[in-house]
């Protein structure tokens, strides 16, 4: 039971972290290497909220807005000029990540910060005591997935995003402003990353480089899932299970790389990811 909850909560966290990256990868077809930095920004929003004496939950909307705004600036200044050079765009986002990390260090210092627990304590479920916050994470992932799905499948922006994902040239020929769709999607992705950062903050230590460790796993998942959030959910579950089981029975260190290695193998076998079943 404990193992099952570990798997579910790990999967939930992976899903939350990767969701923002998935949106950007699907529509813009690039990997936002600054994703780790956005996670860190979100986590530091939690730290800031604590310092300002606000309710720790206020960090969630704060991180979303901050992520959204900074993401918009980044898309206009950095991503858009590199539209025809996707590999260079990826490199530029890595540089951006470095810059953001250094700025955070300059403002907050290098030391590890501790963010307040959003939901302290443990709950009793299925006969075991389990971290309340990790249980909440499962719920949060489901909620985020549902909201994302709703937005994607029914709203007009979601429809435009789906069109651009499938065939950007055709979308443009139909008069759709694909530049604006890319901008909004990027902003949504970075906003989600900020929120994920806040949600991560009670679980890991917060320092300027915390996001990097999550970056690789996140984008490997996004690549395996292609543009499908359903596939992302399933992949998170599968790879989360592998990570937990390897950590428990083989070695915690190797568990950390399990996601990356498994995803690499999966992509090698099925280059388009697993979105189309």
């Amino acid at each position: 039971m404990l193992l099952a909850l570990d798997i579910l909560s790990t999967a939930a966290i992976l899903f939350l972290v990767a969701l923002g990256l998935l949106a950007i990868f699907g529509v813009l077809k690039i990997i936002n290497f600054a994703h780790g930095a956005w996670l860190t920004v979100g986590a530091y929003c939690a730290v800031l909220a604590a310092r300002l004496g606000l309710n720790p939950w206020a960090a969630v909307p704060l991180a979303f807005v901050v992520g959204l705004t900074l993401g918009g600036l980044a898309e206009i200044l950095i991503i858009r000029p590199l539209y025809r050079r996707p590999l260079d765009a990826i490199l530029a986002t890595w540089g951006l990540g470095i810059v953001v990390g250094q700025l955070i260090t300059l403002v907050f210092g290098r030391d590890v910060q501790f963010a307040p627990a959003l939901l302290p304590g443990a709950w009793r479920i299925g006969g075991v005591e389990y971290s309340a916050y990790r249980l909440f994470a499962i719920f949060a992932a489901l909620l985020a997935g549902a909201l994302y799905a709703l937005m994607f499948e029914t709203t007009r922006l979601g429809l435009l995003a789906r069109a651009v994902i499938m065939n950007e040239t055709l979308a443009r020929a139909l008069g759709i402003d694909t530049a604006r769709v890319r901008l909004f999607t990027f902003m949504l992705g970075t906003g989600l990353a900020g929120v994920a950062g806040v949600l991560l903050s009670p679980l890991t230590s917060v320092d300027p480089n915390m996001g990097v460790a999550w970056l690789i796993g996140a984008f490997m998942l996004a690549m395996v899932a292609d543009a499908s959030y359903v596939a992302l959910g399933l992949a998170s579950l599968a790879f989360g299970a592998v990570q937990v089981l390897v950590s428990a029975y083989v070695s915690p260190v190797l568990g950390g790389v399990a996601v990356a290695v498994l995803a690499a193998l999966a992509l090698r076998l099925r280059p388009r990811g697993f979105a189309r079943g």
Partner: protein, 584 residues
């Protein structure tokens, strides 16, 4: 035209540099304090690494983050042997061997995973990121044996002093630079640029770009391992940071700032940045990183060719003299009894849509066959199936008696098929002569250190080069050619393959009347004299009528007519099809 010069004259500059560089490195130590000497030793080794990344990324277009990890593997292999087994001369040699062989093997593995038919550059970059991560974790999980997070320290090293290591590192850097320089200007070195600019064209010329990428990865991994061996000795400490992907990304940053595909730019950038970082690490570490990161982002957006690239653009050095053109004797061709191309029951569908239906076609050498039909009839799909055996078609396609099913384009080309595309597919980053020379690469392996002064091409190819005026542009960069000349160049490249079957996709698209007539003449001559067959897809019916020996009509995926020019051109069926009377 300039007089021919021996291939050795091109080696003068690298040789001169080797001498001066070695001398400078040998003479420098007395002028440097211990701190500077130590830092520069390390910086020079990093510079050599940067050169390898430039070869992979700048020249071949493979964005790799793994070179740092191969370096680290070499360093760790060395340190592990010296720590656990000792430091006898024999063991030093063994460590050196291991430091080269192990990364090479890993490089081959990484290459094999990254480069396969249909792989994307993004996937290759991602794998190159995963490898250092896995390597780092393996080091961490090695516990006391690998020194875990603190690394290996205090083992016996080569009996050289600081000065000695400085000279060793410097000589290694000079050697790597010279070797890279010579390779890059050699005939084989142009292959790198060809792979970077147009992988598909390489495949259709009978070359295997994936194998080239894998080989390059493995060889340069070995070089990185060698650099790691020297590093392990010079610094006498090896830590996980030397294997990690952060280090790998730093090298990429040096190459980007220094200048992609310039060799010297990345080397100087590595030395400069590493040295400055060491100097400033006490004072303003975060500001320095911030500046560097911002500079990196700005460079990528605004000046992607980097510092050296900008410098190269401003200082326009003299262009090399164009090579001498030689005509080759045609290789004696054994005439086979059966048809050159035999297609039986060929069908191809895309999901619910059937594009080709039960096509039966046979082509003998000496025929000039035109494939006509309305848009959407399946002509380009047919051409694709004929040149790429990996297309999922049903039925049989045999070239010279050999079934092509499952064969990738380069192996179909090896059977004697040359394909020319509708949009001229050449190597934009090379000169006209280099494009043509590379087209011969599947017949004559290019030299890895010589830059040929002569260009030997088969007679029909030479004829096209002369007829179309390309002969006056041999030294010119291919990307500056006019549309018509690019088409001519591509045709010449295909003919350089000495193909038995030439597949042409709308060869007259966008050509002037004069150019059209020229191409027509060339094609007729080809089939008359040289024993090849030509199959071309064309919309210009007048052109088709003038030069074809046979016309085949495709309509809605079916072969509806196959006959002489008179039969087909005057048939009621063709009239109907072209006026839209036929229904589906």
């Amino acid at each position: 035209m300039a007089e021919a010069h021996s291939p050795l004259t091109g080696l003068r500059a690298p040789a001169l540099f080797a001498l001066i560089g070695a001398a400078a490195v040998a003479a420098a130590p007395p002028f440097l304090d211990a701190f500077a000497s130590n830092v520069l030793t390390r910086s020079m080794l990093y510079a050599a690494l940067a050169v390898t990344v430039d070869l992979l990324w700048g020249y071949t277009g493979v964005l790799t983050f793994a070179q740092g990890a191969f370096f680290g593997v070499g360093a760790y292999a060395t340190a592990l042997m010296l720590t656990h087994l000792g430091a006898t001369p024999a063991l030093f040699v063994a460590a050196l061997a291991l430091a080269i062989v192990l990364p090479a093997a890993l490089g081959a593995l990484v290459g094999w995973i990254s480069f396969y038919h249909g792989s994307t550059p993004l996937f290759a970059s991602v794998i190159s990121l995963v490898f250092p991560i896995v390597a780092t974790q393996l080091v961490y999980s090695g516990g006391a044996w690998t020194g875990s997070s603190s690394g290996l320290v205090g083992y016996d090293v080569l009996p050289l002093e600081g000065e000695g290591f400085f000279r060793l590192a410097g000589l290694l850097l000079v050697a790597v630079l010279v070797a890279a320089w010579v390779f890059v200007r050699s005939d084989a070195g142009k292959l790198l640029i060809a792979v970077r600019d147009n992988e598909a064209r390489c495949a259709y010329l009978g070359l295997d770009p994936k194998r080239i990428q894998i080989a390059l990865t493995a060889i340069l991994a070995a070089v990185a391992g060698l650099i790691g061996f020297v590093f392990a000795n010079a610094s006498s400490v090896v830590a996980p940071e030397n294997v990690g992907f952060v280090f790998g990304t730093e090298i990429v940053i040096w190459v980007a700032l220094g200048g992609r595909a310039t060799l010297f730019g990345p080397a100087f950038a590595a030395i400069g940045i590493d040295y400055l970082s060491a100097q400033l690490s006490g004072d303003l570490p975060f500001l320095w990183q911030l500046v560097l990161g911002s500079l990196f982002v700005v460079t990528i957006i605004v000046a992607p060719e980097g510092a050296a690239g900008l410098a190269r653009r401003l200082w326009r050095g003299g262009t090399a003299a164009p090579p001498r053109l030689l005509s080759l004797e045609a290789a004696p061709r054994e005439t086979k009894a059966g048809p050159l191309l035999a297609v039986r029951g060929l069908s191809r569908g895309f999901g619910a849509l059937t594009v080709l239906r039960e096509i039966d076609l046979s082509v003998k050498s000496g025929e000039l066959l035109s494939l006509v039909g309305p848009n959407g009839a399946g002509k380009t799909t047919l051409m694709r199936c004929l040149s790429d055996g990996r297309e999922p078609f049903r039925g049989e396609i045999a070239m010279g008696g050999q079934d092509i099913a499952g064969r990738p384009p380069n192996r179909v080309a090896a059977l004697g098929v040359g394909r020319k595309f509708q949009v001229a597919s050449i190597f934009e980053g090379l000169s006209v002569a280099d494009c043509l020379r590379l087209a011969r690469a599947s017949h004559e392996t290019p030299s890895a250190w010589r830059a040929s002064a002569a260009l030997a091409l088969p007679a029909p190819c030479v004829e096209v080069v002369k007829l179309t005026g390309l002969i006056d542009q041999l030294g010119a960069p291919a990307r500056l050619l006019s549309h018509g000349l690019k088409q001519a160049l591509e045709l010449a490249m295909v003919l350089a393959l000495e193909p038995q079957l030439v597949l042409l996709d709308e060869p007259t698209a966008g050509l002037t009347k004069g150019e059209r007539t020229l191409i027509g003449e060339v094609l007729v001559k080809l089939t008359a004299g040289q024993g090849c067959a030509v199959v071309l897809v064309e919309h210009d019916f007048d052109f088709v009528r003038e030069i074809s020996s046979r016309i085949v009509v495709l309509h809605q995926g079916r072969l509806v007519m196959d006959g002489t020019v008179e039969d087909v051109a005057n048939s009621a069926l063709v009239r109907e099809i072209y006026s839209g009377g036929g229904h589906g």
